[in-house]
Symmetry: C3
Subunit: 208 residues, 3 copies
């Protein structure tokens, strides 16, 4: 098992924890918890694969689902005794985000999509799982309005990765730089509570 595969599964597990906690806030039963955990962890990659390629990455590789179910069960056990460590989970989530931003970008590159699509596919890979989680929990998706640079960090990291490669930097270093951009931007936004300004149609009510 390579390092990338281990990190990939760890990232999926972290996303599954976030899904499990969201399900717990909605008082779902174990099946509901499982569905939300799976959708959160695999939804983004699934939509990417539906748009771009076959087969869907998790269909023939049971390691993904097993990781999710184990992560979800451990989360349910853990919160019986302790509060979930929210700050630490956000950091772990940021690292998963950084990894998936690069794997998403590279899958789009492999399919020889134009640069704009590489960024779009990275965003879909990283954020559409959480988007589906919030839709299933009947809430306006977190990433759309209160996201603390969630998708923005992915966009910045993916653009950085593309530019560095154009400048002749080898892909492996460009990847690490892209990941650093995603993780540091996201973690900075969490610590300093940074958000983008919202577009509010009502604010301009007195226009002619």
């Amino acid at each position: 098992m390579t390092l990338v595969r281990i990190l990939d599964l760890v990232g999926v597990g972290v996303f599954a924890v976030s899904g499990t906690l969201a399900a717990g806030r909605k008082r779902l039963d174990p099946v509901g918890v499982g569905v939300i955990a799976v959708v959160t962890a695999l939804g983004g990659g699934t939509i990417r694969d539906l748009l771009m390629r076959r087969p869907i990455f998790w269909l023939t590789d049971t390691a993904y689902l097993i990781t999710i179910f184990v992560a979800s069960a451990l989360t349910i056990l853990y919160v019986r005794y302790r509060r979930p460590p929210e700050r630490e989970l956000e950091i772990a989530d940021a690292l998963g985000l950084a990894l998936f931003a690069m794997t998403g970008s590279q899958i789009a590159e492999t399919a020889q999509l134009p640069a704009l699509m590489v960024v779009v596919i990275a965003v879909i890979t990283c954020t559409f799982g959480g988007l589906l989680r919030d839709v299933l929990c009947n809430e306006v998706p977190f990433i759309l309005g209160r996201g603390h640079f969630y998708a923005t960090a992915v966009i910045a990291g993916s653009i950085c990765y593309l530019i560095l490669q154009r400048l002749g930097i080898p892909r492996i270093y460009a990847s690490f730089s892209g990941m650093a951009v995603v993780a540091s931007l996201r973690i900075a936004a969490i610590y300093w509570n940074l958000t983008l300004p919202v577009f509010d149609l009502e604010r301009h009510r007195n226009r002619p």
Copy 2:
């Protein structure tokens, strides 16, 4: 027309009735009723086919859509004069669920997916139509929290079907046993109002 095809269309019709009634609770117009009925009846199989195979099963076979529109129109007429027979509809829905659990499992088997995926595909086939119905009606999906063993019955039936085959039982008997498990578990849960315990994050509020 074989027995399986007749049962398949009857099952689709029953799911369309459930979609039509959900649309009626939201005061939708005829187009809205049609969309919800189609999504409820075909949504699960469509997502399964998107994940696994082409073509989408209902695209080249108009019998599915015609069945849905007829079932939906009859439902609208019926409820002008009488209350919908809720208990009988739930029983019919349980039988449809049992059938689709087995057809979903078998489609995944045909694609030579691992056993875990056979169960997952059965759950997607059976429950994601109702999930999409509830998302379109702007509600937390029924199957995730108040589902009375809806997805659970599918999981149990699909596992039973797989185990019996491993034990050397012919597929046809394994299928009937799996269907019996799904239907009886679901009907028992309805009659005795059985639910799984929910995972409630707030309950553990005083943890350290």
Copy 3:
């Protein structure tokens, strides 16, 4: 660049404006605005392509995304100074609807789908973008209940297009007639505030 391509991009831009305004009503950040604008403008065609064909039409052609981002940015700028011209936007949307009803129908015809599916694919192409927009904004989709003949106009136009072709009218004239039906029905419904009667399950509460 042919006339059809220009019209296609203009139609996509109009749908992006409608998505941007919906995002502004929900107070989303720029990333959220971009996601909603893209989903509104490309969602219907994407679901059509997922169901029927590869590749997804916008993945290899950056003109669509660039049009959407420009239309969305211009909308955000515009509403700082003036109220959005709602009636004019609805007319532009009706013209886009008419165009997409015909392109959707023709893509289904090219795939040699039966006539019923041609109409269904036209409806999916035209309305599922708005459906996804409303789901992401956590509302019951506009087209399902308060749609002022939105999907209905598409159905009528697509049927008109099919019938005229059966009668031996050349495809180009059948297309223009179908577009005229969609646009005029939709614009008439807006001006005279026409809606279809809703199916209301509660109205019949006193049934036996």
